[in-house]
């Protein structure tokens, strides 16, 4: 399942690092963080999407404490 979220990231480098951190998570098929679009695209396994999303948000906050997401 693929879903897009509106996010708030303050710096381009953090966006890139958040993207890498989320891509490395278990259960994530594809992830893209757009600094310009302020969007997150998450493609993860259907049956555990919510768990993966939670892990992704946690990973993002770890990289950038100011990371915000509109769920």
């Amino acid at each position: 399942m693929q879903k897009k979220f509106n996010i708030e990231v303050d710096c381009a480098n953090c966006a890139a690092k958040i993207e890498n951190a989320i891509k490395a998570l278990d259960g994530v098929n594809e992830a893209s963080v757009s600094f310009m679009g302020q969007k997150l695209l998450l493609d993860a396994d259907d049956d555990r999407f919510d768990a993966v999303l939670k892990a992704a948000v946690k990973a993002a906050k770890k990289v950038e404490p100011d990371f915000e997401i509109e769920l």
């Binding site: 710096c11 893209s32 600094f35 310009m36 679009g37 404490p65």
Partner: protein, 631 residues
Amino acid sequence: MTKKQKKTLRRILIAAALSVCAALLTLRYNFGWYLALAVWLVPYLTIGYDVLRKALLGIKNGEVFDENFLMAVATVGAMALGEYGEGVAVMLFYQIGELFQSYAVGKSRRSITELMDIRPDTANLVGPDGALTTVDPEAVKVGDVIAVRPGEKVPLDGVVTSGASTLNTAALTGESKPRSVQPGDEILSGCVNGEGLLQVRVAKPYGESTVAKILELVENSSLKKAKVENFITRFARWYTPAVCLAALVLAVLPPLAGLAGLLPAGWPAGWDVWVLRALTFLVISCPCALVISIPLTFFGGIGGASRSGILVKGGNYLEALANTGVAVFDKTGTLTRGVFEVVDAAPADGVTERELGAAAALAESYSSHPIAKSLWAAYGAPQALDRARAADAQEEAGHGVCARVDGAEVLVGNARLLEDRGIAFVPAEGAGTVVYVARDGRFLGSIRIGDSVKPGAAAAIAALKGQGVRTVMLTGDAESAAAPVAAALGVDEVHAGLLPADKVAQVERLLAGKPAKSNLTFAGDGINDAPVLMRADVGVAMGALGSDAAIEAADVVLMDDDPAKLGLAIRIARKCMRIVYENIVFALGVKALFLLLGAVGVANMWWAVFADVGVMVLAVLNATRMLRPMR
């Protein structure tokens, strides 16, 4: 400016004022080191507390090498060495750079949505009693009736129920072509209503309307990243640690060499000199300029293109378009209009074209054949010509019609029809369907009906060739119909008589034959050629306004059907890539230079911070050039 930005600006101003105070105080009074440090710590913490906090959090979370860490180490190091002014200045300029970056990004994001300027703010809902209420377009349901007043944007897709007007599609297509609408016609959101009041029955909720789809497409385009964007991110990942390591070596190695007596004569041996140089290194090591300016350039390119009615679905496609080596076109509907029209007429000696045309149009006046329609379009509808002049029309199956016009027997049909009657005629040359006309056994002339070439198509092909792109035309039509069109357009290569599967095979062959670094674009109507669009490096759908299927299938969507837009798209893509490479070379060049100058002690921390922030500002300004629309 957003609230956050205003807060940062206020902090910068306060910290700058405090720094001036600190500088004056330390100049006026001869403080001990602890008092001087205390005085300087006030502006330092005012401007840098969040950076220090994030650096600590980063270390705690195992995310060590980020710019907060670099800035924290560089400035804390400077303060520890007693370079208080430098420490505060670096932090101050870093924050100014960050603020500028965030402002520039916000501004370009806004200007892109403004450029698009298609998002409707309100809809006028018509109540059961006819009264209008102004509502949010998202609140309107399918089946509701809305009123669109003159000059207003159509907020939702629907069908006109009453009123007539002309719509301007410029905001969607980049081209201001008025389109007239009447009750029963479909209208698309994003168009601007002309002079008439319209009532529209809403056909789609806002989220599925044309405007919402286009805006979503543009906003999501930044999620599909170009190779060069990914390269920069990977580069940033090793660049920062590498510079940190180099800084460490720079801080430790020369003083150790000095202790061992191995340092060349004339080199300073003091620890403080080398540590300060190493800290200068750290200030330069931030890859911000690259990491911000490159996505910004792509975003600007995609935004600028969408204003011209070219929707690019991702930076990766912009990158691919820039390297277009072969442009493949479908013929019908892409290079030609896709409708049958009278192309030309060849009246026999002593016959005028009007006489010939009127005879043919009247003889066909009871027909429902597409050829009849194109004759009427060129020479007058039966109503206008007075249908009563024609009588006794008979279809001659497969050959044409025979009718009495003004009492004379008129034959309209193919060559066989005249041959069968033993009427001598002049065979016509050229593509398309030829209709021969005879009256009372005498040949009146021939009329050629075909799919005419779009007015700008030849110029568009010539422009592509001028850009070094090889042009190929594919068509399902017969060779005899395709060759003259190809010749008129000047395409390099043409393949006719192709079934849909053959088109895929041709594209495969062209893909295999082209140089590895150049890309193949395929432009079609986006509906019948989905497999080819998928196979091509870049699939371009033309005339896609209002066709969800075409928008879905293609990588690049041309909202109107002007083939010249492909050339424009390639020009935009090439400008975008040029700016991207300019920024890469410029930013890395300046950084390398300052790393060198910093290592040998020519550039101090002031230079370093100016180089860092300055490069970022210039790279961002260069990137925003992409926002200007191109013609």
